[in-house]
């Protein structure tokens, strides 16, 4: 197990190199010149040239990449072209908000998803099942930005139950929780729908398994048949879905943070892309990739507790 974790960390390093190269080259090839963005519309040609020289943008691609990676291995993510602020600092300030949002959304997704899937499977072919599958289909189909806008309109603007946006209070206060509710629902619904569908099909499969019949033949109470003999087995594929969905959820923070005006890494990233602020984009993408890999590592570790047949050498 420890060996597996160490190996994963080495894999992560190589993965991050790969990702940094991809992001670096795509930014290099993308249209738009950071120097002229920084100089602004009034800057003269020579000013822009000076900025370019200053940022090292005139160097050949590989030299630029090498110097970036050189900083990276020393833990230096570089400085923002726009604000000259250190990228690591800029991210560190915003990371807590993004993590809060991602974790809250995942909790929403897991609770709603598993409950809906369970109800669906246990009341197979009833109106509850139909309702929950319809919810799942809607959840997958509705885009984040639309859902966020509608929720704001209904619960913040019209009913005025919850704040329109922002995230400034600590999460453990009432205010902080109120700020989290709408963004977490917006971001979590898609993942909830995926989890619900997987839970449903997995439960339906396991409930017909021979060992569930054995449990009934032993005279086990129906509640234990579901909670002990069925659920643990049915959760194995659901775990995979949770891990994979965490990735798209992190991607979803970009839009959700924008819609709810949350000062997080997602918003930082989208603003950086618009401003051609390469180091900032690089830094945030690498962070998101690292989070994704870590979450999937956690999922892999949880597997061994759920399924004794899985062992890592």
């Amino acid at each position: 197990m420890i060996g597996m974790i160490i190996r994963r960390f080495f894999q992560l390093i190589f993965l991050l190199f790969g990702i940094s190269f991809l992001v670096f080259s795509s930014m290099y090839l993308a249209p738009g010149d950071p120097a002229s963005m920084i100089g602004g519309p009034t800057a003269s040609e020579s000013d822009i040239e000076a900025i370019r020289e200053n940022l090292g943008l005139n160097e050949p691609f590989l030299t630029q990449y090498a110097s970036y990676v050189g900083g990276l291995v020393q833990g230096d993510l570089g400085y923002s072209y726009q604000t000259r602020q250190s990228v690591s600092e800029a991210i560190a300030v915003r990371l807590p908000n993004t993590l809060k949002l991602a974790i809250a959304s995942m909790i929403v997704a897991i609770i709603i998803g598993i409950l809906a899937g369970l109800i669906s499977a246990l009341k197979h072919n009833s109106w509850l099942d139909v309702g929950s599958t319809t919810f799942a289909l809607a959840g997958i189909s509705i885009p984040n930005f639309w859902m966020g806008a509608v929720l704001i309109l209904v619960f913040a603007v019209n009913l005025q139950w919850l704040p329109v946006g922002g995230m400034s209070s600590p999460w453990y206060t009432i205010e902080g929780m109120k700020e989290l509710i709408l963004p977490a629902i917006t971001l979590g619904t898609g993942a909830a729908a995926m989890i619900a569908r997987m839970t449903r099909s997995s439960m339906l499969e396991v409930i017909r398994a021979d060992y569930v019949r054995t449990a009934r033949a032993k005279g086990v109470k129906e509640s234990s048949v579901i909670w002990i003999h069925t659920l643990k087995n049915a959760m194995i594929p659901v775990l995979t879905v949770i891990g994979v969905n965490f990735g798209s959820l992190l991607g979803g923070t970009i839009i959700t943070e924008k819609v709810f005006a949350i000062n997080g890494v997602g918003r930082l990233m989208i603003d950086a892309i618009a401003a051609r602020d390469f180091p900032m984009v690089q830094g945030s993408v690498l962070l998101v990739a690292t989070l994704f890999v870590l979450v999937n590592l956690i999922v892999d570790i949880v597997y061994t507790y759920v399924d004794p047949r899985i062992k890592y050498q």
Binding site: Y211, V212, R213, T214, A217, K218, G219, P308
Partner: protein, 329 residues
């Protein structure tokens, strides 16, 4: 022999399907004494498993006993509520299944699965149940039982798992053990061991055993009495000697002829031609008529009743009409 443990009277088990109500078991009656082994024999789909599931009340959700009675020690258990039935299962009536590889829960330890019925039915504490569990594993011939308690099913071989299943089934000293093809998925050498084990335990616990099988070799090994089923109906019933030495129903004869005889070099393996009729086929007359080389006009127009050939031997075949007369005179 002994007192009656189980009596099944005219049960009809139906399944609700897209094609309407389909009867899988048609008007089947049999009885079982304490300490006796009854083998239910027939080819796949003949209703033998459904008959046994009807007894223990574990029919799939779309199946139900439409009419008839299941009496266990004189009590009509088919009228019991699901909760009453649950208290009987694993306690007075136990069942072991065909596939030991999938019949144990892969994510729970052997110990957990073995303790469960003991704690539920016998109200033992966890410690007492562990002790009793270790004893049971010893009894069914599992080496290092203490170690096995903490292992998971995938760490055991198929034969070992079937022994664990037997230990679980016997944990609460049931009066009736239903074994649905318990050896079909096992190696031949292991098969004999498992059959011996079931036989020994039957004698120790003085249980009634219903063994569902399609293997005539298994029947010869363990049965006291045999019931042959075809397309949802009982076609012949008798002691094991009667069935093997003087089978009456052409289907039983066919079954026996399709078992290779290694002692006789001239023996020709004879398959029964054709296949089982579908559940929703409305057949007038005998259900075996299309595959029977003796079928007459009468077989195609009238369903044969049960004819008594001796006090213990019954066959549902028009050919035995005279046999009954002979026995009565």
């Amino acid at each position: 022999m002994g007192e009656t443990l189980l009596e099944v009277k005219n049960i009809v088990t139906e399944f609700r399907t897209a094609d309407g109500q389909l009867p899988a078991v048609r008007d089947v009656s049999f009885s079982l004494n304490k300490g006796e082994t009854l083998c239910i024999v027939g080819e796949s789909g003949c209703g033998k498993s459904i008959t046994s599931l009807s007894v223990i009340g574990l029919l799939p959700s779309n199946g139900k006993i439409a009419s008839g009675e299941v009496l266990y020690e004189g009590e009509a258990i088919n009228k019991y509520s699901p909760e009453q039935m649950r208290r009987i299962r694993g306690n007075k009536i136990s069942m072991i299944f065909q596939e030991p590889m999938t019949a144990l829960n892969p994510v729970l330890t052997i110990g957990f699965q073995l303790r469960e019925p003991l704690m539920l039915h016998e109200k033992l504490s966890k410690n007492e149940a562990t002790k009793k569990g270790i004893e049971l594993l010893k009894k069914v011939g599992i080496p290092y039982p203490e170690k096995r308690m903490n292992q998971y099913p995938h760490e055991l071989s198929g034969g070992m798992r079937q022994r664990v299943m037997i230990a679980i089934a016997l944990s609460c000293n049931p009066g009736l053990l239903i074994a649905d093809e318990p050896t079909t998925a096992l190696d031949v050498t292991i098969q004999a061991q498992i059959l011996d084990l079931i036989n020994d335990l039957k004698n120790d616990y003085h249980m009634g055993v219903i063994m569902v099988t399609h293997d005539m070799g298994v029947v010869a090994e363990v049965a006291d009495r045999v019931m042959v089923m075809y397309a949802g109906k009982k076609v012949e019933e008798g002691t094991v000697e009667e069935i093997f030495n003087s089978p009456k129903h052409p289907y039983t004869i066919g079954l026996l002829n399709s078992v290779p005889n290694v002692d006789d070099p001239d023996f020709e393996l004879e398959a029964i031609p054709g296949s089982l009729p579908s559940l929703n086929d409305e057949i007038i007359g005998c259900r075996f008529q299309d595959r029977c080389k003796f079928a007459s006009e009468k077989c195609r127009s009238q369903e044969p009743p049960e004819f008594n050939i001796s006090s213990s031997h019954i066959a549902s075949c028009w050919l035995e009409e005279e046999g009954e007369l002979r026995w009565q005179s």
